[in-house]
Amino acid sequence: MLALLRALWLILLHTFKKRVTVQYPEQKPYVPPRWRGRIILSRDPDGGERCVACYLCAVACPVDCIALQAAEDETGRRYPASFRINFSRCIFCGYCEEACPTYAIQLTTDYEMGEYRRANLVYEKEDLLISGQGKYPGYNFYRVAGVEIGGKAKGEAENERPPVDVRGLLP
């Protein structure tokens, strides 16, 4: 009984405590750099698209809101011909970012994405692609991959020996 009364009293005292509410639009909360907000596609240090359309983000997505189609340019570099995220379904779990082997897909600190039309929440590749490198500067997947693309022949990637001369007789 006393405990109940004490509880009532303690709750009543909260009338005079400091408010924790952040008055949002006027007052912005602190957003940590690793905040999982709006998703972007970044570019590598050379300005090329980082996304190689490997479909891993799409398969990692628990709500299946990423749909893309791979394509290859004439030099063999793979890129997404289309890349669509339906943000009306996205739950901002960040699995896509975790799955991405090239640091292409990144979640940013932007969370102000309210829309009156749901269709406006469907972001195509041109809406997602930014011109910078995002959170992970300096990484270029094609510099470490073995495939040949325009401007990088076989054996020119990091940690690679020049191509083998198959017709050579040396041991």
């Binding site: 709750i11 909260h14 009338t15 408010r19 924790v20 509410t21 008055q23």
Partner: protein
């Protein structure tokens, strides 16, 4: 009073009660906010008071859906019952020395009778929804009402004995020298607990217990039908608070300020206390609720009745 006065007064009272009930939505949310170190609704209008208007607009424009499996006539009637029974009860509440619709000799009995009828609303809503959660909610409400109804009536008998009348106005006037809360403190506590249970407010909201029954008896309700239950609940709080004021706190009586203001202030204080209870207490288990009612409150109310009766007899 003349018929004309009634024609004006009744809608006026209903309007005032409606405003109060809807205003309570804002008050409750704001108070809960404050007690949880938040701000509560503060965006719509000054201090967020227009939040109520927004909520009403929303509830009016929501799809009013009747599940295909429901018993349609009963499903539609149920929410009306609770609003009607509570509103009718307000007829006997003496808001001031002269204010009040009806001056019934059996005002208190009328209050008890009407508030018991309210249970039909909940039980029928639970039944008509044809869903297991609703039915469970309805069952719980019925059992809870019956249990707490018993000692609610008994707890008031002390007051009746002191005033020697069932007429609420007489009861108020009988408190000229001392508010009933002093001689009838136990009765006051018991009535308050029973009153909370009657309105199934927290901590006695087991019929709707969100965490177990989704929303209990009104799980299947939407739109304005849901709004009616909501309204009924706030009417109920107001009614119980008004009754406590009338029965234990000397009704409209008080110095300096006009009587109706005193009545309103006391009632409002009780309403705030109800909200504080909600902010503080967790919901008991159902068996705890029942055993508390029958094994603690019921004997206590009998003791109260006996002691009061004994003292009155001895004083004579």
């Amino acid at each position: 009073m003349s018929t004309l006065q009634y024609i004006i007064l009744i809608p006026a009272l209903i309007f005032v009660l409606m405003s109060v009930a809807s205003g309570l939505i804002w008050v409750e949310r704001r108070l809960l906010g404050i007690w949880q170190d938040r701000l509560g609704p503060n965006r719509v209008g000054p201090f967020g008071v227009l939040q109520v208007l927004a909520d009403i607009l929303k509830v009016f424009t929501k799809e009013d859906w009747v599940p295909p499996f429901a018993d349609k006539p009963v499903f539609i009637t149920a929410p009306a019952i609770i609003v009607v029974t509570v509103l009718i009860t307000f007829a006997v509440v003496p808001f001031g020395p002269r204010a009040g619709l009806a001056d019934l000799n059996i005002g208190l009995l009328f209050f008890l009778a009407m508030s018991s009828l309210g249970v039909y609303s909940v039980a029928l809503a639970g039944w008509a929804s044809d869903s297991k959660y609703s039915l469970l909610g309805g069952l719980r409400a019925s059992a809870q009402m019956i249990s707490y109804e018993v000692f609610m009536g008994l707890s008031l008998m002390g007051v009746v004995m002191l005033a020697g009348s069932f007429n609420l106005r007489t009861i108020v006037l009988a408190q000229r020298h001392m508010w009933n809360i002093v001689p009838q403190f136990l009765g006051f506590i018991i009535f308050m607990i029973a009153g909370i249970a009657e309105t199934h407010r927290l901590p006695f909201d087991l019929p709707e217990a969100e965490s177990e029954l989704v929303a209990g008896f009104h799980s299947e309700y939407s739109g304005m039908k849901f709004g009616m239950f909501f309204l009924g609940e706030y009417f109920g709080i107001t009614l119980i608070s008004a009754m406590m004021t009338t029965l234990f706190l000397g009704g409209w009586m008080g110095p300096v300020l006009p009587p109706i203001v005193w009545f309103a202030l006391k009632t409002f204080a009780f309403i705030c206390f109800f909200i504080l209870l909600r902010a503080t207490l967790p919901r008991p288990r159902y068996d705890q609720l029942m055993s508390f009612g029958w094994k603690t409150m019921f004997p206590l109310s009998l003791v109260n009745l006996l002691v009061t009766g004994g003292i009155i007899l001895a004083a004579r």
